[in-house]
């Protein structure tokens, strides 16, 4: 038995905004062993603090952000943080992961996790300086009334460009979060995002404008030899694997546009079909970005991939667009205008909005408008139509400020279409907008959306895309009812471990769970063998499920919109839908693999085995 596990700081910071009180707790070996860090640790803490029926925008909701034992080490990409909250968009557990460097800085400030409860009386920014010896000095509640109402970039410039915060890193919300837009993001170092599910609105509901962190705590590892072996192999693989050594740096994630289109998975016009003209895609793909607007690739903490894009359109510069943004603000709206997509992306970053849900909701609104279903009171002068870019920038601004039509869009697709009397036009699962992969082109992707704890998220539901064509030898048939459930389960588990280890999904193109196991075991001295990590992943998935079930979700919510069940696309030589029977069969098989009953409730023996 080792005296103290390496890797961890063994400290959790708990802040109550209502009372401005600050408390430090020990992380403790039990939490470390059972929940690892990142997503696992944050989920456990969140479930301990927040009742499942809590009102997402009420005081009972909490914000938990966690790092991992290898955060802020030399592990490639190990600067990510994981944020858990109850989603105001879906009512499910909210679970969002972000890169940049903020996560590493929270660790350097001396904390494995940060828990924020309550609601501040007026807008505040938290400033956590880990180098201050006294706890009372370590956390400052900065009056943020002077930056309330300002966008993310202006806020960041105003609060970080000061001598006392030089070198610190900040998370901030923009006007969208302040105005409780249900898909508002928490922006990380201006252009990265804890995007999905509306964490920005939760910040806004708590009068929390942002969190600044700094510190110089060094992460020590328990077994240098084992850790170094993992580290060297991880770096070696990142340098050698095609996905990580070159493609992402050269083309960014938008390099996926043509690849996804080749398998008829690239959505078009609110997912009505997946048909595009190649000439149109050539104007918006990763190659087009590289040729026309790219200033330079940018990367997160210790990331050799540098998939981020620093771009410029005219005199306007910013970051993006990434693949999801290109598609959701592009072809899903029937728009193939790269400068327009890019500037919409810039605006979303500045106001602090999730571009996937923004695009998904705009496309739902467009379909409603084309059917004459948008209430006249909100349309105003807008000519909301597929393919029409005119006025869209203004609508994005109105959304952030909840003005006019923006007030309806700010509610997300499901509420908007329900208001219009056409919920069938909401391309959502559990109220979360579907990302840029059409589920009809892959059963594994479909099942990932259906069973993701946060609704239709390609990351929480398992990054099935990596199997479709970046999987190399891991590729599986796209339409196998027998293979997809286990494949979805396994890719979800890998994602849970990556999220809990604080590393990027894209490392999966280079190395797998065996390398992660060595890094974690070496860093901590604890048994984080592959076998243990599988158990931890199952525990985390089951805990997320328990929260959602207690919040009122059932197996019936693990489904897809009717469009995908009845309106076929042509792919792989056939007209294909994901029929109601497919959905039932896939869902049942998935539950069996997870040891959940047919209603999606974890079996008592499963709970006992997982100590839940």
């Amino acid at each position: 038995m080792i005296e103290k596990p390496g890797g961890y700081t063994n400290k959790i910071l708990v802040i109550d905004l209502a009372t401005s009180s600050v408390e430090e707790r020990q992380t403790g070996e039990e939490l470390m062993k059972d929940y690892l860090g990142g997503r696992g640790l944050a989920t456990r803490l969140f479930c301990d603090f927040v009742p499942p029926k809590a009102e997402p925008l009420g005081e009972e909701n909490a914000i938990v952000i966690a790092t991992s034992p290898i955060s802020a080490t030399k592990t490639p990409t190990a600067g990510r943080g994981h944020l858990v909250f109850k989603s105001p968009l879906t009512g499910t557990i909210g679970s969002s992961n972000s890169g940049g460097e903020w996560g590493a800085y929270l660790k350097m400030a001396g904390y494995d996790a940060l828990v924020i409860t309550g609601r501040a009386k007026h807008p505040v920014v938290l400033f956590i300086d880990g180098d201050k010896s006294d706890l009372s000095d370590r956390v400052a509640f900065i009056d943020a009334r002077n930056v309330w109402g300002r966008d993310v970039h202006a806020t960041s410039d105003s609060l970080l460009n000061t001598p006392e915060r030089k070198g610190a890193r900040g998370l901030f919300i923009g006007q969208a979060g302040e105005n409780l837009v249900r898909f508002a993001a928490v922006m990380n170092e201006k252009n990265r995002a804890y995007g999905r599910g509306g964490p920005g609105a939760v910040f806004g509901s708590k009068n929390l404008k942002g969190i600044i962190v700094c510190g110089s705590h060094k992460t020590t590892v328990a077994d240098e030899a084992v850790f170094d072996a993992g580290l060297k192999h991880a770096h070696y693989k990142m340098r050698a694997a095609p996905g990580t050594k070159r493609i992402l740096r050269e083309l960014g994630t938008a390099g996926l546009v043509n690849l996804i289109n080749w398998i008829d998975m690239l959505p078009h016009r609110n997912f009505i079909d997946t048909t595009h003209k190649q000439a149109d895609l050539d104007r918006i793909c990763g190659e087009a970005i590289a040729d026309t607007i790219l200033l330079k690739p940018v990367g997160c903490y210790r990331c050799p991939m540098m998939c981020g894009r620093r771009t410029q359109v005219g005199n306007y510069s910013g970051e993006g667009p990434e693949y999801e943004t290109v598609v959701l603000l592009g072809p899903v709206l029937d728009i193939y205008d790269l400068p327009a997509i890019t500037t919409l992306n810039y605006l979303a970053n500045e106001f602090g909005m999730d571009t996937i849900s923004l695009g998904g909701t705009l496309s739902a609104a467009m379909e409603c408008a084309e059917h004459g279903l948008l209430p006249a009171r909100v349309i105003g002068n807008h000519k909301l139509r597929f393919g029409n870019i005119d006025g869209l920038h203004d609508i994005v601004r109105q959304t952030a400020f909840r003005e006019g039509i923006g007030d309806l869009i700010a509610e997300g697709s499901l509420r908007l279409t329900t208001e219009c009397g056409a919920p069938q036009f909401a391309m959502t699962v559990k109220g979360l907008e579907i990302p840029a992969y059409d589920p009809r082109a892959s059963y594994t992707q479909s099942l990932g959306y259906m069973t993701s704890p946060t609704g239709a998220c390609h990351l929480r539901g398992g990054y099935a895309v990596s199997l479709a064509f970046f999987g190399g030898s891991k590729e599986i048939p796209r339409f196998s009812v027998r293979q997809s459930p286990m494949a979805a389960h396994n890719v979800q588990n890998l994602g849970i471990i990556q999220d809990s280890a604080g590393i990027c999904r894209f490392t999966g193109y280079a190395f797998g769970i065996d390398v992660i196991a060595r890094l974690l075991t070496g860093a901590t001295g604890l048994d984080f063998s592959v076998e243990q990590l599988e158990i931890i992943a199952q525990r985390i998935a089951t805990l997320e499920r328990l929260f959602n079930n207690a919040a009122g979700f059932t197996a019936e919510d693990d489904t897809l919109p009717m469009r995908f069940q009845t309106e076929p696309i042509f792919t792989d030589g056939a007209e294909r839908v994901v029929s109601a029977e497919h959905i039932r069969t896939l869902r049942k098989a998935y539950y069996e693999i997870r040891n959940w009953d047919e209603n999606g409730n974890p079996a008592p023996e499963t709970l006992q085995k997982l100590s839940l």
């Binding site: 030899a225 084992v226 170094d228 072996a229 060297k232 192999h233 070696y236 693989k237 050698a240 199997l467 999987g471 190399g472 030898s473 891991k474 590729e475 599986i476 048939p477 796209r478 339409f479 196998s480 009812v481 027998r482 293979q483 459930p485 286990m486 494949a487 389960h489 396994n490 890719v491 588990n493 890998l494 797998g512 769970i513 065996d514 196991a517 060595r518 063998s529 592959v530 076998e531 599988e534 049942k588 098989a589 998935y590 069996e592 693999i593």
Partner: protein, 444 residues
């Protein structure tokens, strides 16, 4: 008749693929029974191309009067007729099993004063299914009456024999089983030949494994049957069927496991898709079964092992194969062969043992591959599979797992064959294997 020709074509093509027939050599024969129950014989024509047999290359002489019916039948027709007349024999093959020929060459004066030493397999498949393969020298080594007599006598008692400098004669209940035995003869010969690359005398290796067979081969390989070949329980998923057949073909063609050996599986929610024969040539598929994941008393040992692995893991695919190179690499690391090139490496005699890749692709994929002893317990196998994804169990073949696909496990066994082959190659050049191993492997 069409079915007979198709079987000849498939077996001929398979034999050519694994190089136990060259373009025109060797011959294939089978017995068939007409509607009245009378036995007949079919045999390849002399000089026919075994890899590309035409309808007219199959001859149908009488089984008891072989001169009747076809003047162009093989020179060895009388031998095959005699073999096919043995009880329970339905197929026979003469194959130029090259490594087995090399391993049984004897440069002493002929005719030999005493019986030639047999080919003694040191691999589990050969050890169990061939035992000891007798070798005979013939003054007239092709189609002679002397051959008819002696070969038939040997095949009464065993499934294969070698003619000195000319290759194997094998029998089986079917033509396919005769191919199976011919493939095993060549595989065993190849294993022995590879041992020499590491500086190991095959006779010493044969003595070593024969001394305590249960210690070296505690788990007998699955016995051959072709009763359900070609059956498929999941035809409703053609993509999945194609994936199995593609994987099986690659395992066979790349010689990752001899013909119709090994096994493959994919896991579903409560069933598994199981190919009890991993190595499947084109047009010679084994069964493709769907079975409940729950253990069943009727399960073969092989199927039960797959189920047990799935029960304790989240793996989605499993491959079990017998690459000769891996078997040899494992044997070469035994302390009994202390003078071999392998035993000069830093891994020698340590427990656990590992094969460390020395090639770029191998070390990119695996820094170490565990080498487990034959008596490894299930728990040890499972732990090693979790940690390393692929393992070699000496005397029990190579086991690989995949988190997703059959292609993934194929890649693993394909890599391990190359990894072991490069080590063998480096050993022949007397290179320092330890110096070629990546340093990172030490702490992996």
């Amino acid at each position: 008749m069409r079915e007979i020709i198709a079987r000849f074509q498939a077996v001929g093509a398979a034999a050519l693929t694994i190089d136990i027939e060259d373009s025109h050599s060797g011959n294939l024969a089978m017995k068939w029974v007409d509607a009245d129950g009378a036995p007949h014989m079919a045999i390849t024509a002399t000089g026919s191309q075994k890899g590309d047999l035409k309808e007219t290359d199959i001859c149908f002489p009488g089984i008891d009067r072989t001169t009747y019916g076809h003047y162009k039948a093989s020179t060895e027709t009388d031998i095959h007729a005699a073999i096919l007349s043995l009880p329970d024999v339905g197929g026979s093959i003469h194959a130029h099993t090259k490594h087995a020929i090399i391993e049984t060459l004897d440069d002493r004066r002929k005719p030999p004063a005493e019986p030639l030493p047999p080919l003694r397999p040191v691999d589990p498949l050969g050890f169990y299914h061939l035992r000891s393969v007798p070798v005979e020298w013939f003054a007239v080594p092709s189609g002679s009456p002397e051959m008819v007599k002696l070969i038939t006598a040997h095949l009464k008692n065993g499934v294969a024999m070698m003619t000195h400098g000319h290759g194997a004669f094998t029998r089986g209940r079917t033509l396919e089983e005769a191919l199976y035995h011919a493939a095993l003869v060549e595989n065993s010969g190849y294993v022995l030949w590879l041992l020499r690359l590491f500086g190991i005398d095959p006779r010493a290796a044969a003595d070593f494994v024969a001394e305590t067979p249960p210690r070296n081969f505690p788990v007998p390989p699955t016995a051959y049957t072709n009763e359900s070949d070609g059956e498929c329980d999941f035809k409703d998923e053609p993509d999945t069927v194609a994936e199995f057949l593609r994987t099986g073909r690659r395992i066979f063609e790349s010689r990752l496991s001899p013909f119709h050996t090994g096994s493959l599986s994919l896991r579903g929610a409560n069933t598994l898709l199981f190919a009890p024969k991993a190595s499947m040539p084109r047009n010679l598929p084994g069964p493709l079964l769907e079975r409940p994941l729950m253990p069943d008393a009727a399960d073969t040992a092989e199927l039960a092992f797959h189920k047990e692995i799935y029960k304790h893991s989240n793996f989605q695919a499993i491959a079990h194969t017998y690459p000769a190179e891996a078997e040899v690499a494992a044997l070469a690391m035994q302390p009994e062969f202390a003078n071999s090139a392998e035993c000069g490496t830093r891994n020698s005699f340590h427990t656990p043992q590992y094969i460390v890749p020395i090639d770029a692709e191998g070390s990119f994929l695996y820094l170490k591959i565990p080498l487990l002893p034959p008596e490894a317990l299930f728990e040890e196998v499972l732990r090693a599979l979790h940690d390393y994804r692929i393992i070699i169990i000496r005397g029990r073949g190579v086991w690989a797992i995949g988190e997703q696909s059959l292609s993934e496990v194929l890649h693993r066994v394909s890599s391990v064959r190359d990894i072991c082959y490069y080590r063998a190659g480096a050993a022949t050049r007397s290179l320092n294997l330890a110096a070629l191993e990546p340093k990172t492997a030490e702490n992996w």
